[in-house]
Symmetry: D3
Subunit: 141 residues, 6 copies
């Protein structure tokens, strides 16, 4: 059974998933320690290669321990970057999901506010540097 209501394409329910899709759904729940597969992943499952491709990348960069990679950034910093990019692009789903993820990692409201303060400030200065076409400063090598 598919659920047309949650997106412009049909999402794959956990009940109807089989084969590689079912395996990835199980891996998502196990890696993220959650009870059900989020709408994002159920929607990507309409194309199995896409599901595999994006989940592989999210595992690699956002769950490095699950692939034995030694990260340079900690989990909170990774979520802050996710939030800064998503605020710049105005992606509602991503902002909902990653604000929740950041809160679960212990990011309090005041710190979230500082992330948004700095992300929004650079949206301002980006528009100014581009708007005036400011040439990069020459730096000593």
């Amino acid at each position: 059974m598919s659920d047309a209501a949650i997106s412009t394409t049909s999402a794959v329910s956990e009940a109807e998933a089989s084969g590689r899709v079912a395996e990835i759904f199980a891996d998502i729940k196990s890696t993220k320690q959650i009870e059900s597969v989020p709408n994002f992943w159920r929607t990507l499952a309409s194309n199995q290669d896409l599901l595999e491709s994006v989940w592989g990348e999210v595992k690699r960069w956002m769950h490095p321990e699950s692939v034995g990679r030694e990260p340079k950034l900690d989990a909170q910093t990774r979520e802050m970057i996710a939030l800064a990019v998503s605020a710049t692009n105005g992606c509602a789903y991503c902002l909902n999901a990653h604000t929740a993820a950041a809160q679960q990692l212990g990011l309090d409201a005041e710190t979230l506010g500082e992330v948004m303060a700095i992300a929004s400030l650079f949206n301002r200065t980006n528009a100014l540097a581009d708007g005036f076409q400011v040439t990069p400063d020459v730096r000593p090598q």
Copy 2:
């Protein structure tokens, strides 16, 4: 003497700056511990209120110690957010300036690569969540 070459508007040189503009130029060099005023600030000086406004905000959020504010994020994390936003917007000036700033704070090439890896990953997932119009997951309150 103004320098028309560095932007679409005339930048104010340090030599011609006077009054409030000269004071802000001095504060920029002192706060940032640099020898000359970057092109960005010299360009904003074409409108004194704009220079004052943007410098005030950059001091508040990027140089919190200069205004006696207790930041939640450290200087490296702030620069990573600046880079993530600037990469998303493709702002050349900002990427040059803040990559240099991050490097001066000790961010090595591999860590910078991880910042860009995560920022670019969310540019991808943002396009997917928006592209499929995925509805936010319902969460227990």
Copy 3:
């Protein structure tokens, strides 16, 4: 009677349309072979020149046969470009309308997934190329 609910400005209903607006509404329904005028066009009708301007452009590029133009791209490819741009900009109305249009042209879920896979991939590589300020490769002329 206008319908304030569907946008921040008043949309023109088919019943109240007259003159040039009524003619364009009829042309939209006839060209697109649909029964009612979509909200987008009813909203643009608040400024008759805007309605005429945008409909003229959409006819020219998306319905080339209606203006006797020989297109280089087929209808499915045109819709894929529409979807790739709209996913990049995150435009909800456009994604809803053009996903439906693509589906009516026979684009199946797996192909739509490939369009989104590629569009999202380039949102990622764009952020990387800009983020690192990579210089274009020199090419033999």
Copy 4:
């Protein structure tokens, strides 16, 4: 003779233009009262329909007197909107061209600074409203 250097596609020189392209080139120079055809239009001429389409729209909205349309906005306000959008998108060509156009219309550096101040401020508040996913306020009808 075409000029490959100015863009990723071949631009059409004024000397090689003929037929409809030559007519549009002449109209561009006459309408804008300039001596040579800007690179933008020479590049669009690689596809004659594209040149015709975009020039028609620019005439309609930016040179309304040339098509007998009564504009609501004056020429300076139109250029300010062009600049605000181009700064938001970071379009170098457009910022160069429209800063020059605004200056020719008498927009001084301080006013240009105020345009950029306000455009950049809304790039900041847009990121904040999106970043926090603020719900629109309910308003009395």
Copy 5:
């Protein structure tokens, strides 16, 4: 009492506001001559420095008379720039708020249509100039 429903973070209600936040809430209502504090400002109040920072900037540029600044642009023009930027970024909250603000200043539907016509036209020409990588025209100094 906080209101979690209006955003991904908790908004501060007017009843629970105290100290500096309560003062800014009062200043917002007085400066804008409105009866209640909009959701945007209540959400920013989760970080007091952010509220103070953004309100200070909005006062300076959008309510210049409240800070004794002599603006170059009138209130309608400022709102048009806000709308052009917000349409480019697709910020729902900002478009709702500033369309209402423009209407209260007397901007009629046809003029709003012309603002959107021009803002959208430059989103098109920006994509073309960038898409073809058109080089800026050389201009006589």
Copy 6:
């Protein structure tokens, strides 16, 4: 020996590459049938995981035959999507690289013009649909 000039970070030259990086460089040249490694890939090599991650994704979606995947879209259509996204984001490196790639696949100037015509048209209609906050049309299920 690294080459600092081509980006804000150090690019890895082919001569200094070793181990996994050298293998990927060889795979890039072999898969793309080119003589030297483009700047983009040499820059990503500053973080080996990033190089591996992005090259894996580009192989999967843009060179499906190299990974034994049956694509739904042909190579020209894939390049058109790459160009439409890159024009929307204004990414210079990507536009240069993928215009060249499209030309090598036989895409003539007039067809490239049609791709840009349609991509730019949707940048316009996206701004309009968002700018007026048009509600999606209700469709029969």
